[in-house]
């Protein structure tokens, strides 16, 4: 884990107070970065001296509604030459769910950010093509938010079978 420690030190030196915390859980290090400095942090990890984090493997989000800041955006970066990975995260307030896009640094972030925009409603400023990707174009809402109900099928009993049946959205003759 030497290279990870080195990368964290280097990040602290380069970004100073924008590195908010460093968390180690089950041997995996996650560095919390101020949301507006995420592209700088990733660029530093990619281009900084002997850091070589040259592969953005994944990007996802998690929602902690109703506590604020509710969104955590998680980045997973690999350094192929050093064979280690490092997690970055940024916490966002639900009322201002916006952070700069990582696309200029890693083009691979494009679809991952679109997915987060689609499913969580987090906006990435400077993104080249921020459209819905998985849900239909005219879908209302963001399904992976915790305040979005999952939906279910109502159970029909003898006394209300027809009443519920009328509401069901399947094709009838």
């Amino acid at each position: 884990m030497d290279h990870v420690d080195k990368a964290v030190d280097s990040l602290r030196r380069a970004l100073g107070e924008s590195i908010l915390s460093v968390d180690v859980f089950r041997g995996q290090t996650t560095v919390e970065v101020a949301p507006d400095r995420i592209p700088d942090a990733v660029q530093h990890l990619r281009d900084g001296p002997e850091l070589d984090f040259n592969y953005l493997a994944a990007l996802t989000a998690s929602d902690r509604w109703p506590t604020e800041p509710r969104f955590t955006i998680l980045y997973r970066l690999y350094s192929l030459p050093h064979n280690v990975f490092l997690g970055l995260c940024a916490r966002l307030d639900g009322n201002a769910a916006e952070l700069p896009s990582l696309e200029p640094v890693f083009p691979a972030a494009n679809w991952h950010e679109r997915e987060i925009f689609d499913l969580f409603g987090v906006t990435f400023t400077g993104h080249s093509d921020l459209r819905r990707i998985l849900m239909p174009y005219d879908w209302v809402g963001h399904p992976l938010r915790k305040d979005q109900p999952q939906g279910y099928e109502e159970v029909q009993f003898t006394f209300n079978f027809d009443e519920i049946d009328r509401r069901k959205p399947y094709a009838r003759e």
């Binding site: 859980f25 994944a58 998680l74 192929l80 990707i133």
Partner: protein, 410 residues
């Protein structure tokens, strides 16, 4: 929640096409979602100059089933069955990454025999997945007979999966702590017969394609991408290795005991469709090597952890031990709690890096499950690979990325 059809206008997509499309010089053509060469329901909006692809805009989501959202409302154990349905050609690998994530989160040990069986089955599944890839890829490029042969051999592998789990495809055979149950007595002989059969059959496929001038014409120098470009674009798996980047998670970050096995990571040099083909063919042989070693290593023993807080007790204990009844009841009604915190686990699926992010919140249900799927990452690079090629070659490029749309859309 409206679901009405809404027209997408050229206006919304004009940042993705060239200026010539807006003046009517190039043609916008729709390919898919129902198209045999898109390997599922993938829609491509193509900007064409004659037969040459100027731009390619993939449109996905037709198979989106909300697996990640649904898993949040199930206990850790119940959610296993949903992972099978993502990448339906790599069911064992999907379940493996999910149970490894659970095991990492709750710090559960796995017996040696279960780890070896997991490796045998996921490697067999890799061969089966590559066989489907080869079959459909060759079919797209008009080699019909390969298709029939590949599906014939795939059936032998699916027989082994059925023998173990009762299912050909949606197996759900791995459980947190080990396996659902031990493999049947005829398992070893069946795997052994596949090991004897396959090398000859792989040679047969290669004799039909590798030196076939028609095949070489259709694949060499098509969809070329260099190593650094592939890394920036987020390619993974054989598509990345064909560009000369040695990166296989089984070697780099071993899981489930891969560090004990000897195998090579085939790497290409040109990064074209032909090299991706060669890489996958060699991977099948390497998988056979791993299965052979794992089979020799297979010793009798328990196949599931004995930690009763996470693993249900065997049926035989239920009649004698009150403790066992309590554990059984708790595990099947409430489920086991997992600590607060998130873990990443990644495995090498036949298509590339399949990573699972699993976050627990102290309760019996996952707070967030995310699958970083290799098909999603690879498909993203399709426009980069397709530009400047003919529509007929686009079909070959899609095939060489080996996407599974269930894996893309989840």
């Amino acid at each position: 929640m409206g679901l009405t059809q809404m027209e997408v206008t050229v206006d919304e997509l004009k940042h993705l096409v060239s200026g010539r499309a807006l003046e009517g010089e190039t043609m916008l053509l729709n390919m898919g979602p129902q198209h045999p060469s898109t390997h599922g329901v993938l829609r491509l909006l193509l900007e064409l100059d004659g037969e040459v692809v100027v731009n390619c805009i993939p449109d996905i989501g037709y198979l989106h089933t909300g697996i990640e959202k649904n898993m949040e409302s199930k206990t850790y154990t119940q959610a296993i069955v949903m992972t099978d349905r993502m990448d339906y050609l790599n069911t064992m690998g999907n379940v493996l990454v999910y149970v490894l994530a659970i095991e990492k989160l709750i710090e559960l040990d796995v017996p040696e025999r279960a780890r070896a069986v997991r490796i045998i089955l996921t490697e067999l599944q890799r061969i089966a997945s590559h066989l489907v890839w080869l079959a459909t890829h060759a079919l797209d490029l008009a080699a019909m007979s390969v298709f029939l042969y590949c599906f014939r051999e795939r059936e032998h592998i699916l027989d082994v999966l059925e023998m173990c789990s009762g299912q050909r495809m949606m197996t759900s055979y791995f459980r947190p702590g080990g396996l659902w149950r031990d493999v049947p007595p005829e398992f070893e002989a069946a795997v052994r017969s596949i090991l004897d059969l396959m090398p000859g059959r792989i040679a047969q496929y290669e004799s039909m394609l590798t030196k076939n001038p028609l095949w070489i014409d259709r694949t060499r120098n098509i969809g070329v991408i260099s190593g650094p470009q592939a890394l920036r674009a987020g390619l993974c798996g054989p598509a990345l290795r064909a560009s000369g980047v040695t990166w296989d998670l089984r070697k780099a970050q071993p899981y489930s005991g891969y560090e004990q096995y000897e195998f090579d990571v085939p790497v290409g040099s040109h990064g074209d469709v032909y090299d991706r083909y060669l890489c996958r063919m060699e991977e099948m042989r390497q998988s056979l090597r791993i299965v052979d070693q794992a089979l020799r290593r297979l010793q009798p023993g328990p196949v599931v952890s004995s930690n009763r807080k996470f693993v249900p007790p065997p049926r035989s204990e239920l009649g004698q031990s009150m403790e066992a009844v309590i554990h059984h009841f708790k595990l099947w009604t409430e489920g086991f709690p997992a600590p607060v915190g998130g873990v990443w686990v990644a495995v090498e699926s036949p298509r590339g890096e399949l990573a699972c992010y699993l976050e627990g919140d102290g309760g019996p249900k996952p707070h967030r499950v995310h699958f970083r799927t290799p098909s999603f990452a690879n498909l993203q690079a399709l426009p980069l690979l397709a530009r400047g090629h003919l529509v007929a070659d686009l079909v070959g490029i899609i095939g060489s990325l080996d996407i599974v749309l269930g894996d893309v859309d989840r």
